[in-house]
């Protein structure tokens, strides 16, 4: 399934990450997945929460630079080879993974991964015939 991920520009400085997570928690936003890509000067936090619309509004109001991107949530069987099977399937279908990270909780023996692909609909279509990887509900 496709989810809206929020990315935030943050300077690489002590307290920046703490400030943003505090801001979200004070407004009742619950983080479901979080990932950071960084250079020595700045970083991009990417996250999924229980209320992305609210999270985006709160961050914009506080002058954070954000971008909202569609990403795919997939279920990965929690056993050796679970992820490699999925990635092989995607590679065969010509789907490139820009980046990926995992969700905090797992459900029913499956790890949930967030993936950034060029064409989320194509991935959805591919997984329609592979229900073991498919996610129909998130959080």
């Amino acid at each position: 399934m496709t989810l809206n991920q929020i990315s935030v520009f943050l300077e690489n400085r002590t307290g920046e990450l703490s400030a943003i997570t505090r801001l979200l928690s004070e407004n009742g936003v619950d983080l479901r997945a979080l990932n950071i890509a960084e250079t020595s000067d700045y970083g991009i936090i990417r996250f999924i929460s229980n209320d992305q619309r609210k999270a985006a509004a709160i961050l914009s109001a506080e002058d954070y630079v954000i971008s909202v991107t569609p990403v795919s949530a997939v279920a990965v069987p929690d056993r050796p080879g679970g992820l490699s099977g999925l990635l092989a399937l995607m590679a065969d279908a010509g789907l490139n993974v820009g980046y990926m990270y995992s969700v905090f909780s797992e459900s029913a023996g499956k790890a949930i991964m967030i993936m950034r692909v060029e064409d989320p609909e194509k991935l959805d279509a591919l997984l329609a015939s592979h229900p073991e990887y498919r996610m129909d509900e998130f959080c």
Binding site: Q5, S7, F9, L10, E11, A37, E38, T39, D41, Y42, I44, R46, D63, Y64, V65, I66, S67, T69, G98, Y99, R116
Partner: protein
């Protein structure tokens, strides 16, 4: 379009004729200041120069410079070079601190200043058929008075709107069918946005505009031309030399013709005061050769630009000056290279960043370092690190190409660059030399 001139015989005079006028007028002017401006006579005496040493403009370099400090020192009447009964007007600079600078005009001085503005309006295509709206401020500021006078001379129907009251500006523009607009470029840009927002494009009939009194970029020009549907021309001037119209753009829109029959321009090295050859970048210096009441000799403008003499398709023979590239007041010397914040600003604007930036200069291990802090914008942000680092590299190479030295770039959070009273602090120099 047919080339139009306000004073054709002057504007297209041969270089030899121009030169002759300058030589004769300068010699006369130096006698005038020697006799009538004790402040400058003292400076000449200190420099060991007398009027006899000045036989042509080749001797100009011998004369001492004047700066804004001199004008402040001599405030209020120290630079009035005619009897007060012959002075008919004063104008003043917009100085915000300390003493203002007051400029004096005789009737003839006003006349030549208005001629200069009329030349500018005509070069921008203005004729007696135009409805010309002046939204420069009227009053002590030279903007309103100068273009107003020039507009009268050309015979345009003149709308003396002064600045502000945008609703009324737009109302008159629409109702009276304004065809020619004169204001600051930032106000023109604002008017353009209003026209766009209110859907007035079909109801206004502007075809040309003269915009000056502040720095503006080519991007701004394109934006103004698009939103207001006109051709936008630059104009240069300063109260100390007369006001707007010291130099003006022609149909080529690539540099401003200096009214050389009235003003001699030089480019000097701001550090040493030495005159630089034509084509080199340096500080612009003006000598007013035929103004009577306020005749400034070798006045340092603090503006950095390049002069260029060459054939212009408009037919004018006057020297051309580039848009000022910066001010000597904010010039930085980094690794021995002159760096102007405005150059960095140009690079950032071209790459889609806002003008919120800060330059941090430091000296580490006896080597100068320059770092440019750039505020991230929503347009340039991405969830992919690769895209952001690519943009960072773009800025780096564009800065290198512009400055000739390597600068570091640091992307920072929006609104994180300090501002004092709403104005950004552009340069922090941490070097202890």
């Amino acid at each position: 379009m047919e080339n139009q001139y306000y004073q054709k015989e002057i504007e297209t005079a041969s270089p030899e004729t121009l030169r002759k006028w300058q030589d004769e007028r300068l010699v006369k002017q130096v006698r005038h200041v020697w006799n009538d401006l004790p402040y400058y006579r003292k400076k000449m005496e200190e420099a060991g120069v007398t009027p006899d040493d000045i036989k042509s403009r080749d001797d100009l370099y011998k004369l001492p410079f004047l700066t804004k400090d001199d004008l402040r020192d001599a405030y209020p009447y120290g630079f009035l070079a005619v009897p007060r009964k012959d002075c008919v007007r004063i104008q003043s600079t917009s100085g915000t601190t300390g003493k203002r600078v007051v400029a004096f005009y005789t009737k003839e001085d006003i006349d030549l200043w208005e001629d200069c503005c009329a030349r500018a309006i005509t070069a921008a295509g203005g004729t007696a058929d135009d409805v010309l709206q002046v939204c420069y401020g009227y009053g002590l500021f030279t903007g309103g008075a100068g273009l107003h006078g020039g507009s009268h001379k050309v015979g345009c129907m003149t709308l003396p709107m002064s600045s502000g009251n945008t609703d009324r500006q737009l109302q008159f523009m629409e109702d009276l069918g304004t065809t020619f607009l004169c204001c600051t470029p930032s106000y023109a840009q604002y008017l353009g946005e209003c026209v766009k927002e209110r859907g007035l494009s079909d109801r206004i009939h502007l075809r040309a505009g003269i915009f000056g009194a502040e720095a503006w970029s080519e991007e701004m020009r394109r934006d103004i031309e698009k939103t207001l549907g006109l051709k936008a021309y630059d104009i240069y001037g300063l109260t100390e030399i007369s006001g707007p119209g010291v130099a003006f753009e022609c149909c080529e829109q690539n540099g401003m013709h200096i009214n050389e029959d009235h003003f001699i321009a030089e480019i000097i090295d701001p550090e040493t005061g030495k005159v630089l050859p034509e084509g080199e970048k340096g500080e612009l210096v003006f000598t007013s050769v035929d103004k009577a009441a306020f005749p400034l000799i070798r006045y340092r403008t603090r503006d950095i630009c390049v002069l260029h003499r060459g054939k212009c398709s408009c037919g004018r023979t006057f020297l051309k000056m580039s848009k000022p590239m910066g001010r000597t007041d904010d010039m930085l010397i980094v690794k021995g290279v002159n760096v102007f914040p405005s150059q960095i600003e140009t690079v950032l604007m071209e790459l889609g960043y806002t003008s919120n930036y800060q330059i941090v200069v430091d000296r580490v291990n006896a080597t100068d370092t320059i770092e440019v802090l750039v505020e991230m914008t929503a347009e340039n942000f991405s969830d992919e690190l690769g895209k952001i680092t690519a943009i960072e590299k773009n800025i780096l190479s564009a800065l290198k190409a512009m400055l000739g030295i390597s600068a570091k770039v640091r992307l920072v959070a929006p609104k994180s660059i300090e501002r004092s009273e709403g104005k950004a602090i552009r340069v922090i120099d941490k070097r202890k030399i």
